[in-house]
Amino acid sequence: MHREQLITVLSTIAETLLSVPLRTAETGLLFPDDALVACVLYEGSFRGALSVTVGPTLGCALARLMIGGRGPTCSRGDVADAVGEIANIAAGNLRGLLAPDCQLSLPVYGLASWADELPLLARAELLMLEEPLLVELRGRSRDAVQTRHVQK
């Protein structure tokens, strides 16, 4: 269920913000070692993380597309900010479906260790400009966290 919602949100971002097509990948995605992971954390009645992973080629393209293709540079900071904003938009749009009262973090880079241990709820392997784009949603409701602790 969440996978379709991830794809819908990313498709809307691709169409509205970037004016580029997005499609699902038919095979597993491969990322270079210097791929960037931008992550927005949910805290509250739902604890989790939404992460967006891109390689440097797509990251640079996103940074330029988001400002109308006018970006003269493609520094690591430009790319991180652009990908972080995409993660922020996606996380914000999905929040109402997860737990409207939870809080969003500012974008962070690299998945937090605690988030890495949370169950994977949805994973969307996508292609944008023929480059890989991975979106993952991890997390559990606070009730589930409490239940798990009681069971230990």
């Binding site: 430009d78 749009n93 009262d101 969003l104 500012l106």
Partner: protein, 123 residues
């Protein structure tokens, strides 16, 4: 019609994106990196005629900035549009109560934002 718009967002990418759209529509733009910077800019530049304001920012978030400038003083009448990834009704209600004139959810079409700015400045 005042034509200077303050764009407050912690993301340089979003600030550039919004600024570009507004400049192409003929507006003068100043930028602030968070709510605290925004309050400072509003207080020091009386020619600012409108504010485009993100919500989720460090130091001072957009709702806190909105409530600060609407709390009184010479800038209480400044029109403010919230521009954010947040579509949560409780936040929208809080912003409306504080005096925000609009709420646009990202991702947004630049034309929509420019139209909203024009409409508010003409009112």
């Amino acid at each position: 019609m005042p034509k200077k718009v303050l764009v407050v967002d912690d993301s340089p990418t979003v600030r550039q994106q919004v600024s570009l759209a507004l400049k192409q529509a003929g507006f003068e733009v100043v930028e602030a990196t968070d709510g605290a910077d925004g309050v400072s800019k509003v207080g020091s530049d009386p020619s600012i005629g409108m504010v485009i304001l993100d919500v989720n920012m460090p130091r001072m978030n957009g709702l806190e900035m909105l409530e600060t400038i609407k709390a009184g003083g010479q800038n209480a009448g400044l029109p403010v549009i919230m521009l954010t990834s947040e579509g949560q009704q409780s936040l929208i209600d809080r912003a409306k109560k504080a005096g925000a004139k609009g709420w646009i959810v990202k991702p947004f079409k630049a034309e929509l934002l420019v139209a909203a700015v024009k409409k508010l400045l003409a009112a």
